[in-house]
């Protein structure tokens, strides 16, 4: 009997040990490095433990860190909310009888599955001031040239690309949610003479709540982690106009300076923000599955 009780170890342990080795151990190592003054130009044995000094540097001396944190949060907040709004509208557009619906919806997949680093270059070409197709199309409408990737506009262009890439994600998830809604509450409300706006406000939205939260959090986590698109599009520039947290870590650790210790401290901060959101997300998912999904 005792042997049977332990049988599940055989299935769980291989992955568990692998994940401990390749995820947990490196994460602990990252924390450790963040308390040292390690620098790529020095030997590993010459580093020393400096306690919280890297964190102090980021919080008190590094103005660019605060700027990166601010635009990262703004970027994530703005894109996620916009993508949700547009995604919901698109989901509602599709939530009717349409001929060839599957085909039309398959086009929505394109932006989010094609290689992000390639996406950034396509947009870099399209957004070029002199020979980009966007300014060309605008010129047909007699609108003057916009310097899309200049200091003023670069962050907004990045936001535009992110919205292009990820609105379909919201649309597809919310559409799946709409399709799974039960019919009975609507029939009852229609008998009571509810308008379509009321139906949406008092039946659709409350029933969709868990799916809405899950999609918002998934997207927020992903956009805080983002590196590839912004690297390809602007590399954080011009200046530090689009230097999101990931890019700031890159600049501290790998680009001009080789301050791996400071970069690690910044990475730990990013990790903590993401972990906070993940904890909320998982709590919601757990509650939902508990209610018998």
């Amino acid at each position: 009997m005792r042997k049977r009780e332990k049988e599940h170890y055989l299935f769980i342990l291989p992955s568990f040990i692998t994940l401990l080795l390749i995820v947990v151990f490196p994460t602990i190592f990252l924390w450790y490095v963040s308390f040292t003054n390690y620098d790529l130009s020095m030997g590993w044995e010459n580093k020393s433990w400096i306690g919280l000094r890297n964190y102090k540097y980021l919080f008190l001396e590094d103005k660019d860190f605060w700027y990166s944190l601010k635009i990262s949060l703004f970027f994530s907040g703005f894109t996620v909310v916009t993508e949700f709004g547009l995604g919901l509208l698109i989901a509602l557009l599709f939530n009717r009888r349409i001929t060839g619906k599957r085909l039309w919806m398959s086009f929505l997949i394109i932006p989010m599955v094609i290689t992000p680093s390639i996406v950034s270059l396509i947009w870099k070409l399209m957004l070029n001031t002199e020979y980009g197709v966007l300014n060309y199309l605008l010129s047909l409408l007699s609108i003057g040239k916009i310097n899309w990737l200049g200091y003023e506009n670069a962050l907004w262009s990045l936001i535009l690309v992110d919205i292009w890439e990820w609105t379909p994600f919201m649309a597809l998830i919310l559409y799946a949610g709409l399709q799974a809604l039960p019919q009975e509450p609507y029939e009852a409300a229609l008998v009571d003479g509810a308008s379509s706006v009321q139906l949406f406000r008092f039946i659709t939205l409350p029933l969709m709540r868990p799916i809405i939260f899950i999609s918002l959090l998934l997207r927020a986590i992903d956009s805080l982690k983002m590196f590839d698109i912004v690297y390809g599009l602007t590399q954080g520039g011009p200046g530090n106009a689009t230097e999101l947290l990931s890019l700031h870590i890159y600049r501290l650790g790998f680009r001009h300076t080789n301050w791996i210790g400071r970069a690690s401290a910044n990475a730990v901060i990013l990790l903590m923000i993401v972990t906070l959101l993940t904890t909320v997300l998982l709590r919601i998912m757990k509650r939902e599955s508990g209610e018998g999904y």
Partner: protein, 275 residues
């Protein structure tokens, strides 16, 4: 009266869908168009109809060594996918079919690992890779990619296995099958479509990954997405070649994505939403 109003509304909605589809499709089409343009045409956005040239495609294979990058990507992607499927499915079965204390805590802890930011993963792996002399090798990328592929596989496959009634397996045990025989003969054929879908998702994620490949390789193990670094300088970018690389890099992913379209929402939400 009401029906004609509904008809007009329907037409407006159809047009809006057309606009959305066009918006999603346009950048890809523009890349496709650019890849067939000559160098002079690529910097003239008013050229939409022209005689296509294949010189960009020739150039990326001859000058840019695209085949080497594709080979590296293929090695890394296939190995990480196979290992994830094996380890992940085993664990998924354990979570689906056994009861033990703190099982759900373990499952959610595994899922939380999937959310780690690449920039937090890259620093320790860069240093460890340096100490062990593994930088710029396929094996390092395979290992790093396991960190998001294993949790993903576990969550996807757990759902697919739980969709299969336990009774089928129990009947096989009664007939004298061992647990592994029952898995092989009963579970495996039934989860095969789910396993294929999960594999395709792992392939897409790994094929598209940029940040880790960019920092952990330099020449020998460079994968396709890192080719963008050829085209970063603003002056003198050869957009036609860039577009040709883009088309070749994204076509397999698009084909794969259309194959798993049915499971897409499930994959994007780690099985939280089954459509």
């Amino acid at each position: 009266m009401k029906t004609s109003k509904n008809k007009i509304q329907g037409i407006i909605f159809d047009i809006l869908i057309g606009v959305v589809v066009l918006f999603c499709l346009f950048p890809f089409l523009w890349m496709l168009l650019t890849s067939f343009k000559t160098r002079v045409q690529t910097i003239d956005p008013s050229v939409w109809i022209f005689k296509p040239t294949l010189e960009n495609y020739q150039a990326v294979f001859q000058k840019r060594d695209l085949l080497l990058y594709i080979k590296n990507s293929a090695i890394v992607v296939s190995l990480t996918t196979l290992i994830s499927l094996f380890l992940g499915t085993l664990t998924a079965y354990g979570l689906a079919r056994f009861n033990f204390s703190r099982k759900e805590d373990l499952a959610y802890w595994i899922l939380s690992l999937r959310m780690l930011p690449p920039m937090a993963v890259v620093i320790p792996f860069f240093l460890l890779g340096r100490f062990l002399g593994l930088l710029d090798t396929h094996i390092l990328l395979v290992i790093v990619y396991l960190s998001f592929n294993i949790p993903f596989t576990i969550w996807m496959m757990r759902g697919f296995i739980e969709d299969i009634p336990r009774e089928l397996e129990e009947a096989a045990w009664v007939d004298g099958c061992s647990r592994f025989q029952a898995i092989w003969r009963i579970i495996f054929p039934l989860v095969a479509p789910g396993l294929a879908a999960t594999a395709i998702f792992c392939v897409i994620q790994s094929w598209n990954e940029f940040a880790l490949a960019f920092f952990l390789t330099s020449f020998n193990a460079r994968t396709v997405p890192t080719m963008v670094t050829f085209f970063l300088s603003v002056l003198g970018v050869i957009w036609g070649e860039m577009a040709a690389v883009g088309v070749i890099a994204t076509l397999p992913v698009l084909i794969f994505a259309i194959i798993v379209q049915k499971y897409l929402v499930r994959g994007l939400t780690f099985g939280a939403i089954k459509s």
